[in-house]
C-alpha cells in the first residue's frame, strides 16, 4: 500500500511500522546536515506556522542523547521529546529511541538515499501494534483531514 499527498508518501514496511518518505532536491550531504545540525534543524523542524524550537540538542553519536522542544513565541503550548541514538551512519542512516510524554517509547529509523543529486529521506516509526497502525493510517496520515471521524466505524468493523 502506497499513497502520496503533497509529495510525502506513506508506506507500510511491516505490521507495526509506518514509513514516511519525502524526496528533496539536494544531495544527501546537505539533507543530512539540515537534519543533524541544531542551528539548521531549528529553521525547519517547526510544524505549522507560529511555532519556535527553543530546545534543540543533538549529541550525534551512538549512546548520545537528543532533545527537541517547541513552544509558541510567547512560551505557551511548550512540549518536548527526547531520546538516544543507537545507530549513526553518516549521510545514510540514523536510528534513535523517542520518548514523548507518557507514550510508550518508539523507535525511529531515518534513512537518506541519494539518486541523481536528489535525496529521499525515509522516516520509519515503530508503533505499538498493527491495529493501532491501521487506525492511525485510516484516520489521517494517508488521507485528508476532516472526514476521518465518520470512517472510524468502518475501520473498527475491519479489525
Amino acid at each position: 500500500m502506497t499513497t502520496t499527498k503533497f509529495g510525502t508518501s506513506v508506506t507500510l514496511p511491516s505490521d507495526t511500522e509506518i514509513a514516511m518518505s519525502r524526496t528533496f532536491d539536494a544531495p544527501a550531504s546537505l539533507v543530512w546536515k539540515a537534519f543533524t545540525e541544531p542551528e539548521l534543524l531549528r529553521r525547519w523542524l517547526l510544524g505549522p506556522d507560529g511555532w519556535e524550537m527553543p530546545i534543540c540538542e543533538v549529541d550525534l553519536r551512538v549512546g548520545g542523547k537528543w532533545r527537541y522542544g517547541w513552544a509558541q513565541p510567547d512560551g505557551s503550548g511548550a512540549f518536548e521529546m527526547h531520546g538516544e541514538y543507537t545507530e549513526v551512519t553518516p549521510f545514510s542512516r540514523i536510528v534513535n529511541t523517542e520518548h514523548f510524554e507518557d507514550n510508550p517509547p518508539a523507535i525511529t529509523t531515518v534513512t537518506f538515499e541519494e539518486v541523481d543529486g536528489r535525496t529521499t529521506m525515509t522516516s520509519t516509526m515503530t508503533l505499538v501494534s498493527q491495529e493501532v497502525r491501521d487506525i492511525v493510517l485510516a484516520t489521517g496520515m494517508a488521507d485528508g483531514a476532516g472526514r476521518s471521524y465518520e470512517r472510524l466505524g468502518e475501520v473498527l468493523a475491519t479489525l
Binding site: A26, L40, P104, L156
Partner: protein
C-alpha cells in the same frame, strides 16, 4: 496514563477490538457479545470494564441487561493525533525545501 495511551492500550487486545467491531453494528448485551468467543462471561466482563474505563463503550442502566454501546469519542482523539502528526511533517518538509535551496546556493 493519558487518555490517548488508555485508548491505545484498550485497543491493543484482539478480543476487545472484536467487541468494538461488533458494537459498530449496534448495542449488544454481555451475553450477545460473549457468543462468538470461547471465553467465560467473567472474562468478557473484564474486557468490558477496560473498554468502559477507556471511555470506548457506555453501558445501559437496566440492572439485568446493561446493553453495551460504542462511544467513538476517544477514537476521535486518535484521529486528531494522526492528523496533527501528518500536518506537522508536511509543513516542516516544505520549510526544509526552502532551506536546502538556500544551502545549495551558499555551497556554490
Amino acid at each position: 496514563m493519558d487518555e490517548l495511551s488508555a485508548t491505545f492500550a484498550a485497543l491493543a487486545d484482539p478480543t476487545r477490538r472484536a467487541i468494538l467491531a461488533r458494537l459498530t453494528e449496534g448495542p449488544a448485551t454481555v451475553k450477545e457479545l460473549s457468543e462468538p468467543f470461547d471465553i467465560s462471561g467473567p472474562a468478557i466482563s473484564k474486557h468490558l470494564r477496560v473498554l468502559e474505563k477507556a471511555g470506548l463503550i457506555t453501558r445501559g442502566r437496566e440492572a439485568q441487561w446493561r446493553p453495551c454501546q460504542l462511544d467513538a469519542t476517544p477514537l476521535k482523539e486518535v484521529a486528531v493525533w494522526a492528523e496533527n502528526y501528518r500536518r506537522f511533517w508536511d509543513a516542516s518538509y516544505q520549510r526544509l525545501d526552502a532551506l536546502l535551496t538556500e544551502m545549495k546556493e551558499t555551497d556554490r
